[in-house]
């Protein structure tokens, strides 16, 4: 295989969105990759190879008889016991002494630990770098997917009251017994939740909230409040008192990077490049200004900068070059 194909194969294998396509587990990814293949007939062999490797070979695994396993374990434990007894008494004494020391050490450690806890600032912070996406499970079982260049923080004692800067997707664990709420606070607003799936983005000096499931209540920075139902989008910027509240088709509009794919619906290239800049921290410049008005509809994988750019190039007929830590957007040759 040629070098280029090799790189393509590797990027397929490492792309969660591609894996979703292979296992048919995400609608957006299936649509995206089916479409991608149609537009890249020359790469069909590489796609096929990546698919084979990911699907692999299913083996019937021979299980070890559990009775035999227990017997073997008993033998091993016996042998461990026997070895302990075999050892001369001096070493046993030493072991005892060591246990004493360990005991004291443990007590001292525990004491230091308590002091540490009492003095410590109990705020927990999770931060992502550019291009990094992490999944977090909070103490209460809530799942947070944190996009690149974002941060959440909360008090150690209460993981249901979160501050967010950047971009995050929340799958809140409902606690029906106490009806405990969950809060996400940004500089613009506070989201009040019972148990639901939603997306919060604070880039661009405003906060966008997109609700996928359940219901949330927004307390805006200007004192206003809003109730949202699934499929609704609210955008609010403090100071400007400008609120957008509308119904969207959550499957097709706005960025849904949580499956490692941006979904754009007729969005201008300049807007799309802003997403890229925010995710990867690389500024961009349009060399040919008229290209800013080109629009994109469809999915763009965002897990890997190279694939992401190549998808944008292909769908807009442009060329994007990385030069001096800047992305230059040019006309296709």
């Amino acid at each position: 295989m040629e070098n280029n194909d090799q790189q393509l194969l590797q990027s397929f294998l490492n792309d969660p969105s591609f894996r979703n396509w292979v296992t048919k587990s995400n609608k957006n990814d299936i649509l995206f990759w089916n479409n991608w293949i149609l537009n890249h007939p020359e790469d069909i062999d590489t796609v096929d190879m990546a698919k084979s490797i990911l699907l692999g070979i299913s083996f019937k695994k021979s299980a070890l008889d559990s009775k035999k396993l227990d017997e073997t374990l008993a033998t091993v434990l016996d042998r461990i016991e026997a070895k302990k007894v075999e050892k001369p008494s001096i070493s046993r004494f030493e072991t005892k002494k060591r246990y004493w020391q360990l005991g004291i050490a443990a007590t001292v450690l525990a004491f230091i630990g308590i002091l540490f806890l009492l003095n410590q600032n109990t705020e927990i912070v999770h931060k992502t770098g550019y291009g990094e996406i992490i999944e977090l499970k909070l103490q209460d079982g809530t799942l947070v997917t944190l996009n690149g260049n974002s941060q959440i923080s909360y008090d150690k004692k209460n993981s249901r009251d979160i501050s967010l800067k950047g971009d995050a997707y929340f799958k809140v664990k409902p606690i029906p017994s106490t009806n405990a709420k969950f809060w996400v606070t940004t500089e613009d607003l506070r989201v009040e939740v019972y148990g639901t799936e939603f997306h919060v983005n604070t880039r661009d000096e405003k906060t966008n909230v997109l609700l996928d499931e359940g219901s949330v209540h927004l307390l805006l920075e200007n004192g206003d409040s809003r109730k949202m139902v699934p499929g609704e989008f609210v955008s609010f910027a403090r100071g400007q008192n400008l609120i957008t509240h509308e119904k969207v088709n959550t499957e097709l509009q706005y960025s849904s990077w949580k499956e490692s794919t941006y979904i754009f619906n007729n969005i201008e290239l300049s807007e799309v490049m802003k997403y890229v800049e925010q995710t990867y921290g690389i500024p961009f410049e349009f060399i040919d200004k008229e290209l800013t008005l080109k629009t994109i509809s469809g999915g763009i994988p965002n897990h890997d900068l190279k694939i992401c750019l190549s998808a944008i190039e292909k769908s807009t007929g442009t060329r994007i070059v990385l030069k001096d830590k800047k992305l230059l957007i040019l006309k296709e040759n």
């Binding site: 070979i57 083996f59 021979s62 033998t75």
Partner: protein
Amino acid sequence: MDISSEKALWQFFVGGDLNAFSTLFKHFYPQLHNYGLRISNNQEIAEDCLQDFFIYLYEHRASLHHVRQIRSYLFVSYRRALIKKLQKQNLIQSLDEAKDAFIFSQEEIMLGEELSEQRSKILETTLNGLSPREREVIYLKYYSDLKTPEIKEVMNISYQSVLNTLQKAFSKLRNRLETAAIREVLKK
């Protein structure tokens, strides 16, 4: 058992907890047992060596708190111990010349929607036509469900070698399947 509970158990075990040791034993013994059988083709040696290995782990637990990649650590250490033992008994010089290591049988290949009896026969022949090291990659990846970085560690080869092996296996497989399909058509 997920990675985080493996890690938690490991820390308990390192602290000397026999319960944690027993749970780890029950979890890893069957996987390592099968792996040892594949390497050695000798049940007695594989089992003796594996028991000794677990006793070694228990006795040296205090020095094992730094182990982070538990699965690859266990696979790589057991592999090393077993090969040493086989070499001592002059059974093999190296794993490369152990021609019958990691042989697959048709019976253990799962038949799915797309895999007929005839295809699984082709799969068996193709897999066993690979070199022992290549078969080991396939075994660790799809039988033991090790991740590529773990395979890298265990076999001490590069990511690229793992990938090349997988590519080689699947392109051979595809060629053979295509040839078989053509033969089928010609027969009619």
